[in-house]
Amino acid sequence: MDFLALLSPKAAAYLEPMAQKAHRLTVQHFGHTILLYTPMYLSNYCTNRCVYCSFSADHRVVRKKLTLEQVEKEAQSIAATGLKHILILTGESPEYSPVSYIANCVQVLKEYFHSISIEIYPLSTEDYARLIGAGVDGLTIYQEVYDEETYRQLHPRGPKRNYRFRLDAPERGCQAKMRGVNIGALLGLEDWRKEAFFTGMHANYLQNKYLDTEISVSIPRIRPNAGGFTPRFDVTDRHLVQIILALRLFMPRVGITISTRERAELRNHLVKLGITKMSAGVSTEVGGHYNREESSGTGQFEISDQRGVDEIRAMLLEMGYQPVFKDWQSLDGEN
C-alpha cells in the first residue's frame, strides 16, 4: 500500500471509504475499546527555547517543580478518578528535573498507577533502562518537526538543538525494552503531508525492527501558548482526519493517541476513525490536579477538551466503546 498516496491531495476525495476501512481495521485489532490516561506535569523548568512552547526559557511563565509530597498529592487526585495509566512530563533542566528526580517521582507514583510513561527530554539507552528499573514502562517523545532546516529554526538554543539525538531517542527506548513507545510530529510547524509521512516511516521502522515494543503515534496540532507563536502551516480538521486514516490503513496495528489539544466534539468523532488512546481529565499545569481551584499560570498549552474522566467514560459507553482504565499489570511485588 502506498502511504504517500493515502496522504495525497487526491485521496482527500475518498475520506469516507478510507474511514470505513480504518474503522473496520481498528475494531478488528483493538476491539471497541479506548485506553484512557492522563498527563501529569512534574516540573516546567526548561533550558530549551522552542519558539512554540510556553515552557521555553525565553518566556517569563511561573516556574514550578513538584516536591515528592506534592507528587503524592497529585497522584492521589488522579487515582481518585480511576485512571491507572499516567504520562509524566517535565521540561529539560539538568538542575531541576534530572533523571534521579524523575526516578524518585516514579517510586512514589508506582503505588498509585499500573503504567507510568515518560514524556521528557531525550535520554541515553542507559538512562532509559534506569527509569525502566524504577518502574517506567512507556516512552513518549515527539520529534516536533522532521524537516531538519525547520527544526534548526524552531530550536535556536539549548540541548534540544541536537536533531539526531532526539530522532534516535525512540529507538534507544526500544533497545532499553520500553513496553510502549509513542512518537509524533507537532502539526502546524511544517507541511503536514511531509511530516505525517516521515512520522509513519519512523513508526513503521520501529515496529518492524522492535517487535516486542508497542509502537504508537500521536497527532498533536499546535495550540495557543505563552509565546504567541502562530503555526506556519494550516492543519484543518479534514487534514487531521486524513492523517489518522492514512496511518491506520498503512499500519493496522499501530496505536493512535489523541490528546485534549482537540475539542470535545471532534474527539468524539475521531473515536470511530482509528483512535486507540485518549487523555481525560487533563491539566497541563504543574500540580494542576490537586490544586484545581486556581490556575498557577504554569501551563504548557491551552487544552480544548475540558471534560473530566467520568464524562469521557460516559461518552465512550454511549458511543459503544469500552473505556479501558487498566491495560497493564505492574509486576512489582511478585518474584
Binding site: 475494531v27 478488528q28 485489532h29 483493538f30 476491539g31 471497541h32 475499546t33 480511576g82 491507572k84 513496553r179 515496529q207 518492524n208 517487535l211 516486542d212 515494543t213 508497542e214 509502537i215 496495528r253 459507553l317 459503544g320 466503546y321 469500552q322 479501558v324 482504565f325 487498566k326 491495560d327 497493564w328 499489570q329 509486576l331 511478585e334 518474584n335
Partner: protein
C-alpha cells in the same frame, strides 16, 4: 453416553471457550455467557482492576464459569510466570493460559519461552494451557512438561482468517495425548465446526464474537457449531471420495 472434556480435574460440557477482550461494554459478558452456556472464559490479568467494582472485569463473569486467566502482555517466560502468580494471588484460581508474545505486529507466540514458562508453572501447581504456534516438537515438550492441554492457533490473533494451520493442527491431534484446543484466528462458526470435526477438543474464539454486530447471538452460533462438529467427530465422518465409486471395475470378474 456422556461426552465430557476433562481438564485439571474439571468436567466441561460446552467445548466453546471465549474471552472478555474487545467488547464494547463489559455488561454484555454475563448475558453472552449465560445464553450460550459457556463454561470456560479467558481474561487478561493486565485488564483486571480489583480496585474498581465498576471496571473490574471479574465482576461480570458468572461465578459458575471456569476462569482461565491469560498472561497477555508477557514478553518472556519470566514475565508470564510473574503474571500467572499475580493472577492466582488475586483470586483468579490456578488455571492459566500462557501467552508469551514478543511480536506486536503479528502477535505470534514465542514457543520457546512458552515452553519454559509451562515447565515452571506446572512445578508451581498451575493447570497450564499454553498458547502456541502448532509445532509437533514443542507440543511434545509441553506434554512432557505436564501441560493440561495445548492451544495451537488457527491463524494470527484477531485476523478471523480461519484454520490456516489445518495440517499442523491435524498432526497435533493425531500425535499429542492432550486435549488440543484451537485458539485464535477462528472467524466463523463453520471454521470452529471444522476444527471439531477434525478432533479438536475445544475451540476458543474472542474477536469473532466481540466484534460481531450481535455478540450474544454470535456466541450462541459458535456454541452450536462446536457442538455439531463434536457430534460429527464422535459419529465418525464417512470417507471422502473424488468420484462416485462403482463396484469393483477391475476385480469384478472374480465374483
Amino acid at each position: 453416553m456422556t461426552d465430557k472434556l476433562i481438564i485439571g480435574g474439571k468436567e466441561i460440557t460446552n467445548r466453546f471457550f471465549t474471552g472478555t477482550g474487545k467488547h464494547a461494554n463489559n455488561a454484555i459478558i454475563p448475558q453472552l455467557v449465560n445464553e450460550s452456556g459457556i463454561e470456560v472464559i479467558t481474561v487478561a490479568l493486565r485488564r483486571v482492576d480489583l480496585t474498581s467494582p465498576q471496571e473490574n472485569i471479574l465482576n461480570y463473569i458468572p461465578k459458575r464459569c471456569i476462569l482461565l486467566p491469560n498472561t497477555s502482555g508477557a514478553r518472556n517466560a519470566e514475565e508470564a510466570v510473574r503474571i500467572a502468580k499475580l493472577a492466582r494471588a488475586c483470586g483468579c484460581g490456578n488455571w492459566v493460559k500462557i501467552e508469551v508474545i514478543s511480536d506486536n505486529k503479528y502477535l505470534l507466540p514465542d514457543n520457546y519461552e512458552t515452553a519454559k514458562a509451562t515447565e515452571m508453572l506446572v512445578k508451581e501447581g498451575f493447570v497450564v494451557l499454553p498458547y502456541v504456534s502448532p509445532d509437533l516438537m514443542v507440543a511434545k515438550d509441553l506434554e512432557n512438561a505436564g501441560a493440561a492441554a495445548v492451544m495451537p492457533l488457527g491463524a494470527p490473533i484477531g485476523t478471523n482468517r480461519g484454520l490456516q494451520t489445518r495440517e499442523l493442527i491435524r498432526i497435533l491431534i493425531d500425535e499429542i495425548n492432550l486435549p488440543i484446543i484451537v485458539d485464535a484466528g477462528i472467524g466463523r462458526p463453520s471454521e470452529a465446526a471444522e476444527a471439531m470435526e477434525m478432533g479438536a477438543a475445544a475451540v476458543l474464539a474472542n474477536t469473532a464474537v466481540a466484534t460481531a454486530r450481535d455478540p450474544v447471538t454470535m456466541a450462541k452460533a459458535f456454541s452450536m457449531a462446536v457442538e455439531a462438529g463434536r457430534k460429527a467427530y464422535l459419529a465418525g465422518l464417512g470417507p471422502v471420495k473424488v468420484e462416485a465409486e462403482a463396484s469393483s471395475p477391475l476385480t469384478g470378474f472374480l465374483d
